[in-house]
């Protein structure tokens, strides 16, 4: 079991993500944020319990549903929010938006919006670590929907074949847009798939932050110490629609309500209180601080700068160096 500090930090990150996402939804309806917006609400326990266990020199590859991941990784919320606003102060200078958050310094390699597209990348990052003798982990997050793509198959095999230190993190929220997993996978036991590539695998309740932390700790150890891939399925659920465009017609409202009963935020808060690690006052103070952080980030983003149009073609290729 985790100690007090670690648990409180997980809870703080979960709360931070939840509130950040809720604020993003508002800002979207106010047209401050545009493009596609995919919220992580309901799934916070996964990123919050895994990412703090990574080292700064480890790498992360994520999907378009990655606000939470980059926040937990430590990229300042200001930079993330400014990105959503399309400002040059954003973590991708306003070029990427919600789906393409990057932070090279923290080895956060996007924000990948082609489903399955991040998996090949993760094998390469791990290959570079391996070839350069660095005991790093590349944590690659993807949804269960991505597993039907050829990229999943090719990447798992390559990682296993070449013993690449990739931690494959499947965020199984049961749906890929409107398609439930049993309508996209002939075999829904995902561990069988991992094993067909000779990759060690485990499943964990993604609504239980402690269980996720435990499973991730083991997984990270295997990847780092034994320099081979590992597949961890985190069973979770998104409480909101797929994106702001999704009318969410394909799920039973009852199903959603059932899952909301498993909401990790109140449950984990109760747990912390029962442990005597958190009281009402501390909880309120934490939330107040988070709200302040969020409002500050909105202000920062609002006041951010639009990149001059003259710079449009900047960053297509690297500025020419002599040669």
């Amino acid at each position: 079991m985790r100690g007090r500090a670690s648990c409180l930090e997980i809870f703080r990150q979960m709360t931070r993500i939840r509130r950040f996402e809720e604020r993003c939804a508002e800002l979207y309806t106010e047209s401050k944020i545009r493009g596609f917006l995919h919220l992580y609400i309901g799934e916070e326990a996964v990123a919050s319990a895994i990412i703090p266990q990574l080292r700064p020199e480890d790498a992360i590859v994520a999907t378009y549903r990655e606000h939470g991941h980059i926040l937990v990784r430590g990229t300042p919320m200001d930079a993330v929010m400014a990105e959503m606003f399309g400002k040059i102060e954003g973590c991708s200078k306003g070029r990427g938006g919600s789906m393409h958050l990057y932070d090279a310094g923290r080895r956060f390699y996007g924000g990948n919006a082609i489903v399955g597209g991040g998996l090949p990348l993760s094998t390469g990052l791990a290959l570079a670590d391996r070839m350069q003798g660095r005991k790093n982990v590349t944590a690659c997050f993807f949804g269960e929907g991505a597993m039907a793509e050829g990229e999943f198959h090719e990447s798992m095999n390559l990682a296993a074949l070449w013993e690449l230190p990739v931690l494959f993190l499947c965020e199984n929220n049961l749906y890929a847009m409107g398609t439930r997993i049993d309508r996209s996978e002939a075999e829904v036991d995902l561990l069988l798939k991992a094993r067909s590539y000779h990759v060690e695998a485990a499943t964990v309740d993604g609504m239980d932050p402690l269980a996720v932390a435990e499973a991730a700790e083991k997984a990270i150890r295997v990847v780092r110490e034994e320099a081979r891939p590992y597949f961890l399925e985190c069973r979770t659920y998104r409480f909101r629609a797929h994106s702001m465009f999704d009318p969410d017609l394909y799920r039973d409202k009852k199903e959603i309500e059932e899952w909301k009963k498993k909401d990790p935020l109140p449950a984990f808060e109760t747990f912390l209180k029962m442990q005597g690690w958190l009281d009402e006052a501390a909880s309120a103070a934490m939330k107040k601080k988070i709200d302040a952080e969020i409002e500050a980030s909105v202000k920062y983003a609002e006041e951010g700068t639009l990149e001059p149009v003259e710079d449009l073609i900047r960053d297509v290729v690297t500025p020419h160096i002599t040669g």
Binding site: G96, S98, M99, A113, V115, G145, A176, M177, T179
Partner: protein, 337 residues
Amino acid sequence: MTSSRPTSPAKKAATTYREALRAAHREALLGDPRVFLMGEDVGRYGGSYAVSLGFLKEFGPERIRDTPLSESAFVGAGIGAALGGMRPIVEVMTVNFSLLCLDQIMNVAATVRHMSGGQLSVPLVVRMATGAGRQLAAQHSHSLEGWYAHIPGLKILTPAVLEDARGMLGSALLDPDPTLIFEHASLYNRTGEIAENAGLVPITGAAVRREGKDLSLVAYGAMLFKALAAADELQKEGIAAEVVDLRVLRPLDTETILKTVRKTGRAVVVDEGWRSGSLSAEISARIMEGAFASLKAPVERVCTVEVPLPYAKHLEDAALPQVETIVAAARKALRHV
């Protein structure tokens, strides 16, 4: 060349581009038991642009098939089903994901007829949303329809007007060869009137959407409407622009293009593809080849700036062809003496 107006006067009804597409699908599904629709989220979700909303209920899961995220397999399955006697409509959610099935499109769909010495045809229809303009950034804003037009064996359609949204699908299904239909995502909500009895339209040939004598604007898809708006602007300055809607990017209707240029002597091609190697280049080259003597000025091209599309709105706007940039190019073409 296809006329832009139906020849017989018919009662008109208000509709949208999406509704026109829906009507086309329903007609096809009702009219031919071999027709079925498959793709990611075409069923329970209702299509990511709501084109097939309600179809699952109406036509059942055998004919409205939600696929896994497996673009290569389900496009290939469409090819196979077409060879097996079906008339599949495969929806690839957007052109951005079609790179994952490009091998099946280029190396199988487009070549089977030829490789088999004409024994087999692939009556497959693939639909995709295309285009930028909604701040979806670099991986979700491609306009590759002109690029696809490079591939022999394919037919490439870009419905812009409501009549074409209504009529092209049915004609494509009658075509024995593989056809790709590109629907610009900004058009789905476009409203207008259409003849109540609107039906199939020819899928050969361009259409003159506006007549004019001073210069020719050649466009397709969503760019047609920017070109028409630019023509309105130019009209205010007394310049009469003719506007051609290409409609079909492969095979290109060179004749209609040359005809307008022979008439006006000046042309601006508007293309949402990145400039270098966009279809606009092919059109420009064909104009030079076929109407060199008529040209009073070099053909101008208004295309997307060569940058992966940025998220920030002001940058995205600056990257895409706009009414003002079309007007500016037209003025430039007119200044040339």
